[in-house]
């Protein structure tokens, strides 16, 4: 059973259907016990970091995520959900993240050339920095769909993949049983479905 954490941030329609499509058993839930029971957990999210982090704390689900992370349950953060896995964000102020993966959330404006549009929106090729089980079916040049204005900086050895947009922007991170994708696998066609499937079949070890 895969649990998609519902903490009142964003639209979970496509994500839950994409998982159903690849044959996974899915529950969209904000229930602490259901999340702790799940074999795999996805932390989604769109919008602003501060709001989302506050909602996650207000629902008490930050504790559930930290607990299952410590226990070894495979966890995937998507988009803002990936950013929440990091230590800190500088989006409209300074906010604390879950700290499961090293790194800070910074505006892409600070690293890309001024004539590049913000947000970084559209299909871009994944450049794998470090092989990982979730990328087992990904070939060089495979594209995924991005929509974001902030990125994970300073992720060090947790950096799994980047996308070139005037700078090498963090596209995926991972440490132990926790991974995060800046892009939207549920909107990235067959390539995205392959990544979701590989995640669903991953036992959390690298």
């Amino acid at each position: 059973m895969i649990a998609i954490i519902d903490y009142g941030v964003g639209n979970l329609f496509s994500l839950s259907h994409s998982l159903t499509h690849i044959g996974a058993e899915v529950v969209v839930t904000g229930d602490d016990a259901a999340i702790r029971r799940a074999d795999h957990v996805i932390l989604p999210g769109v919008g602003a970091f501060g709001d989302a982090a506050a909602k996650l704390r207000a629902t008490g689900l930050d504790g559930a995520v930290k607990a299952i992370a410590a226990r070894g349950t495979p966890i995937m953060g998507i988009c803002l959900g990936m950013q929440l896995l990091l230590q800190k964000s500088y989006e409209f102020g300074e906010h604390e993240g879950l700290g499961l993966i090293p790194g800070e959330v910074q505006p892409i404006a600070e690293v890309i050339p001024p004539d590049y549009k913000i947000p970084h929106i559209g299909w871009n090729a994944l450049e794998i920095a470090r092989p990982h089980p979730i990328f087992r079916d990904i070939r060089p040049g495979d594209c995924v769909y991005f929509v974001h204005s902030f990125y994970g900086a300073g992720c060090g050895t947790a950096l799994l993949a980047t996308a070139e947009y005037g700078a090498h922007l963090t596209a995926a991170v991972g440490r132990g049983n926790v991974v995060g994708c800046q892009f939207h696998p549920e909107k990235s066609g067959d390539v995205g479905l392959k990544i979701l499937k590989a995640f669903c079949e991953w036992e959390g070890t690298t």
Binding site: F13, V46, G122, W123, Y145
Partner: protein, 252 residues
């Protein structure tokens, strides 16, 4: 490198795709779900569904169809047509749309774009403008291109972007349906005025028109078309291969 996007646009009325779609080997050519799956397999980067229904029953049917499409096709979906209120945004976003395009609704109600952007984020709000040359200037038209609003197009689009629209679809009425190529002059004026993605619409007749578009205007992010894709005059895979051979980055 970010890729240039190719976007087929489907008109939906009472739950069926209209405008005579003519595919070889596709049985139910008016089923939005079948067509969406077909385009997704053919390499479309995104799909636009335009709801041209007038009745409330038609609207309910449309959202039902949208839900079916979004449960089968996992690429970005944009919905337009009949979007007049923030509740209309909610209606289609809850059915799996990723972006919502507003046109006449934004002209009638200047508060629509800021309110929608505040609630759902700019990435979700697309301003779609039908523009035509009048007296040597670019003018915004409403009601499917039938009514001259008197608004100067470039400043109107810039205002929409300042108010929170995260993407612009520029449909040139002057080139639409002519199949003589995109309106490069009009697109250039809009690209110079805004810093968000611009999607070119109106005028594509053959593959070379897309090559010319992206070569002449590197700041254009995407090309949108309807009938040339629906009638199989341009195959999206072929189009993308030609673009790639011309050093234009695409997703293949």
């Amino acid at each position: 490198m970010i890729t240039k996007r190719i976007i087929p646009c489907l008109d939906v009325k009472d739950g069926r795709v209209v405008k005579g779609v003519n595919f070889l080997g596709l049985q139910d050519v008016s089923s939005p779900v079948k067509l969406a799956e077909y385009y997704s397999k053919c390499g479309a980067d995104e799909l636009v569904f335009y709801d041209i229904t007038a009745s409330a029953e038609g609207r309910a049917l449309f959202t039902d169809i949208l839900r079916k499409v979004a449960s089968k096709v996992f690429i970005p979906l944009t919905v337009g047509g009949g979007i007049n209120t923030v509740d209309d945004f909610a209606r289609v976003l809850n059915c799996g749309a990723d972006k919502v395009s507003v046109n006449s609704g934004a002209i009638r109600n200047p508060e629509l774009i800021p309110a929608a952007a505040k609630r759902y984020g700019s990435q979700c709000v697309v301003i779609s403008a039908d523009v035509k040359r009048v007296d040597g200037g670019f003018r915004v038209f409403a009601k499917g291109g039938r009514e001259d609003t008197g608004l100067e197009a470039v400043s109107w689009i810039r205002r929409c972007v300042d108010n929170g629209a995260g993407e612009v679809v520029l449909n040139s009425i002057d080139t639409d349906g002519v199949k003589g190529g995109f309106d490069l002059e009009m697109l250039s004026a809009v690209c110079d005025a805004v810093s968000v993605p611009v999607i070119a619409s109106g005028g594509a007749g053959r593959i070379e028109d897309f090559v010319r578009l992206f070569k002449a205007l590197p700041r254009v992010d995407a090309g949108l078309a309807a009938s040339i894709f629906h009638f199989g005059e341009v195959d999206i895979h072929d189009l993308k291969r030609v673009l790639r051979d011309n050093d234009i980055t695409v997703r293949l």
